[in-house]
């Protein structure tokens, strides 16, 4: 355990201090973690490529199906077709789903089953490197999928203004937030059964975060609840940017997601240290 | 149903003096690959029979055919007087199988693994519970009965697999490498348990690539290599037939092996050159070692020991048992 043996003596109190600067400093070693993932993933490229089809199917289904049933919806003083209304919501939720999948399922497997991290920590890599590396990996994959989704949106003509290009960084930020928290949650999971709880958290977010229709459909109290939930931040931010509706609230959503990701990352690095270097 | 047969019917399939297992011209092919190549053997009731050989010798394929889990490609095989091709389920209801890789349900408890396995034999729950209690005691797992299997040690899992195979009170127990991967203490504990079963009259068929295991457990052994039986007899008889009483092991620096072997040529009837040592087969080890020294050879270390099955295997196949 060379290189990382210093950690336990430092104790958990010293860890947060290491993490913040580490965000910028340990990138080179974290890259090794990414390299390993790419190596493993090269064999699964069919799986990777097939992931592009899912948003395409969703957009197509809503375009030919629900669009006709729902009609137009109000957005920022205009009315827009249902497809244009719902597409940013789907982009945000696909960013969430992808991030959660990468950061829970995959990481649980490596942490508990394949013991990949135990092997990594017997090299100069430290827990922070692993956390950063996995997060970078989730961001890379999430970015590619988000870009493809945005491309499909534009292709179908569901994009509202040229500002929609800003939806890309917004989707990546959404990925960051959920990947960070997802990894932190994974470090507390004990068995595959715990993944039922992940679905239990994700499905209500997916269904109720103003993804499919405006908040005004809900009673007032539910609107307040939804406004506090994480996916709503991503949905509202991406939908606002797509329509070119700039306001301070967009900055608010961004800060919410940024804090969520950083806290998740910090907790993850600390948890990995206690789990793997007891 | 086979699992609920009466005892009287259980013994009726085997005529007096008929072996528990008999194989004649037995062949197992996987596509073009011949895993078991025309072998013959018979195993008597109450006997403990071993298949000794390195990985890939065809031991597991043979065992899976006896366990009626793998169809015979050619030749005849009879287990408990029945044909596995037509009476597989009836045979399996009376044998216990310990596969090479454990097939335990890791997420169920120790006790539930025994319960569900007993149910496959259609034993009443009450009966399984009684037997499970005794078996957990027997396999020293009583205090872990309600723990999940996953965190158990390798030795504990192996003992549980054996206990599970015994829940149907089989007449024939088939064990495929029962102690591979276990530490010495766990192995000795398992050997002790298997010996007790043998004393109770259970017929054992064991594969192993450990010569000490084979010597300890088996009344009779078939030495297997590349799908064939190279020799078959009791461990002592095999050693007497294929080796000398004692062996002198000489270690020189690796580069000197060939030169020293040339120098010692003619000293003993048989001399083997291994990568790390020379083996001199002789009936008087100390005498031979004295002669080695008098010839001016001074090994870095030397050892006089009794012949083992390892020497038999080397003689029969020209290769070491454990690579």
């Amino acid at each position: 355990m060379s290189g990382s043996t210093a950690l336990p003596q430092n104790g958990s109190a010293a860890l947060p201090l290491r993490i913040t600067p580490a965000l910028f400093l340990s990138g080179r070693r974290a890259r090794k973690v990414v390299e390993r993932n790419i190596l493993v993933y090269r064999r699964g490229w069919v799986f990777f490529v097939s992931g592009f089809f899912e948003p395409f199917f969703y957009l197509l289904s809503i375009g030919v199906g629900l669009n006709k049933l729902v009609g137009h919806l109000p957005l920022g003083g205009h009315t827009v077709a249902y497809t244009a209304y719902v597409a940013p919501g789907l982009l945000a939720s696909s960013a969430m789903n992808g991030a959660v999948f990468d950061s829970t399922f995959n990481i649980f497997f490596k942490l508990r089953i394949a013991k990949t991290y135990d092997a990594m920590l017997s090299t100069p890599l430290a827990p922070t490197d692993i956390a950063l590396g996995e997060l970078a990996w989730a961001l890379m994959r999430g970015s590619i999928y988000s870009a493809a989704f945005l491309g499909a949106m534009a292709g179908f003509g569901y994009v509202l203004t040229p500002w929609a290009i800003l939806c890309f960084p917004a989707a990546v930020l959404t990925t960051f937030a959920f990947a960070g928290v997802g990894m932190a949650a994974t470090s507390y999971m004990r068995s595959w059964q715990d993944f039922d709880k992940v679905s239990l958290a994700i499905i209500p977010l997916f269904l109720f975060s103003a993804t499919f229709y405006p908040l005004s459909v809900y009673p007032a109290w539910l609107q307040v609840v939804v406004r506090c939930t994480p996916l709503y931040q991503g949905v509202a931010m991406i939908r606002g940017l797509d329509a070119g509706l700039f306001s301070w609230s967009i900055l608010g959503h961004a800060v919410y997601l940024g804090i969520m990701g950083v806290v998740g990352l910090g907790v993850t690095a600390r948890r990995l240290a206690t789990l793997l270097l007891p | 149903m086979p699992g609920s047969e009466e005892l009287s019917r259980v013994t009726s399939t085997l005529r007096d003096g008929e072996p528990m297992v008999s194989a004649h011209g037995l062949v197992k092919r996987f596509g073009d690959f011949v895993a078991v190549d025309d072998i013959d053997f018979e195993i008597a009731r109450g006997e403990s029979y071993g298949l000794l050989g390195p990985n890939g010798a065809g031991k597991t394929s043979t065992m899976r055919m006896i366990a009626c889990m793998s169809p015979v490609s050619e030749g005849t095989l009879r287990v408990l007087g029945m044909d596995p091709a037509t009476d597989g389920a009836r045979i399996r209801s009376r044998i216990g199988h310990v596969p090479q890789e454990d097939t335990l349900d890791l997420e169920l408890t120790v006790l539930d693994n025994l319960m569900i396995y007993g149910r496959y034999f259609d034993l009443p729950r009450r009966v399984i519970r009684q037997r499970a209690e005794a078996l957990l005691e027997f396999s020293q797992l009583a205090d872990r009965a309600h723990d999940k299997v996953e965190p158990l040690s390798g030795g504990m899992k192996r003992r549980l697999t054996i206990a599970r195979a015994l829940v149907s009170e089989p007449e024939l127990l088939i064990l495929d490498e029962p102690t591979t991967g276990l530490d010495p203490q766990a192995r000795h504990l398992l050997w002790d348990r298997l010996y007790r079963l043998k004393l109770q009259g259970v017929t054992l068929v064991i594969t192993t690539h450990y010569m000490d295991e084979a010597e300890q457990l088996c009344d009779r052994l078939a030495v297997m290599d590349r799908g064939k039986v190279a020799a078959e007899d009791s461990p002592a008889a095999l050693i007497a037939r294929y080796s000398t009483r004692e062996v002198v092991e000489l270690r020189f620096s690796p580069t000197e092996n060939e030169a020293m072997a040339a120098k010692l040529d003619g000293l003993v009837g048989r001399l083997e050159i291994l990568p790390d040592r020379l083996l001199l087969y002789t009936d008087d080890g100390d005498g031979t070692l004295a002669e080695v020294h008098s010839l001016g050879c001074h090994p870095d270390s030397s050892l006089v020991r009794r012949s083992t099955l390892e020497d038999v295997f080397l003689r029969l196949t020209g290769r070491s048992l454990v690579e």
Partner: protein
């Protein structure tokens, strides 16, 4: 070997239970027993989600999105959107459960946990192992469909006493996926094929087989493709039963299609299980 018969038994205590005759449990039911044992561990979470997900989906899509549909298109195929949607979701859920239970658990029982091999070392045969597993999936589907129907009733979307038959219809829909997918799973060396099956099979079916909107909205040829899929027939059957809009000809055709697919899937699964498990 001339030992007297009485001492031949390995453990010389046959016990009274061995001589008493009792009805034998069929071998496939013993294999089913394994899955019931397994379920002891997970039933709480499983039952909770079986109740919760219908409630979430029906309130978010049925009530929430439904309010927009009612406002704009008023009705779908002549009924309120939630009445249209609920039986579709019930069938789609059955598809998902049937498919899921036939993917990872089958692979796990072959590769990871090797449960099937443990069973095959006992008097159980390959067909017993297969029927036992499929019977377990059918039981799961029965519970899930019954719960779904109960939730639908709470949302006021059950309009006919025939709706009770939607439970077997849901089971049949699930089995029409489970049997062929089990056949497929037994041929797979790793789980990569399952993702492909999800992405190019189950998800497109979920989106285009009449669950969320009538297939008549699809372009001509796409409509024909959608109507050829098993989920379409499951959705149509469940919908006819819960709405009480029965029409003997098409409904019998839907049922026959699903039964035929289940039987075909079983035959294929028997073959692929034999190939994989008996070597």
């Amino acid at each position: 070997m001339t030992v007297p018969a009485a001492t031949r038994a390995p453990v010389p205590d046959p016990g009274p239970q061995r001589t008493r005759r009792r009805m034998a449990t069929p071998p496939w039911a013993r294999a089913l027993g394994y899955w019931l044992y397994q379920y002891k561990r997970t039933w709480r979470g499983s039952i909770t989600t079986s109740f919760l997900y219908p409630v979430l989906y029906l309130s978010a899509i049925g009530v929430g999105l439904g309010s927009l549909v009612n406002h704009h298109a008023h009705t779908v195929d002549g009924v309120k959107y939630i009445d249209f949607l609920a039986p579709g979701l019930m069938a789609a859920t059955a598809m998902q459960i049937g498919g899921n239970e036939a993917m990872y658990p089958v692979m796990g029982a072959i590769k990871w946990m090797r449960t099937y091999f443990a069973m095959l070392a006992t008097p159980l045969g390959v067909v017993d192992v297969l029927i036992g597993h499929l019977a377990w999936i059918a039981l799961r589907l029965t519970a899930v469909s019954a719960i779904y129907l109960a939730i639908m009733a709470l949302f006021g979307t059950v309009h006919s006493p025939f709706a009770l038959l939607a439970i077997p219809a849901g089971v049949l829909t699930g089995m029409a996926f489970a049997a062929p997918i089990a056949a497929f799973a037994a041929t797979q060396m790793n789980d990569a094929g399952f993702s492909a099956l999800y992405r190019f099979g189950l998800i497109p079916l979920f989106l285009f087989s009449g669950t969320f909107f009538p297939v008549t909205q699809l372009a001509g040829w796409l409509q024909i493709v959608a109507e050829a899929t098993p989920l379409y027939h499951g959705v149509a059957l469940c919908r006819a039963l819960t709405l009480g809009h029965l029409d003997a000809g098409p409904d019998v055709a839907h049922g026959t299609y699903l039964v035929a697919l289940t039987v075909l899937g079983f035959a294929l699964a028997r073959r692929s299980f034999r190939r994989r498990l008996v070597t």
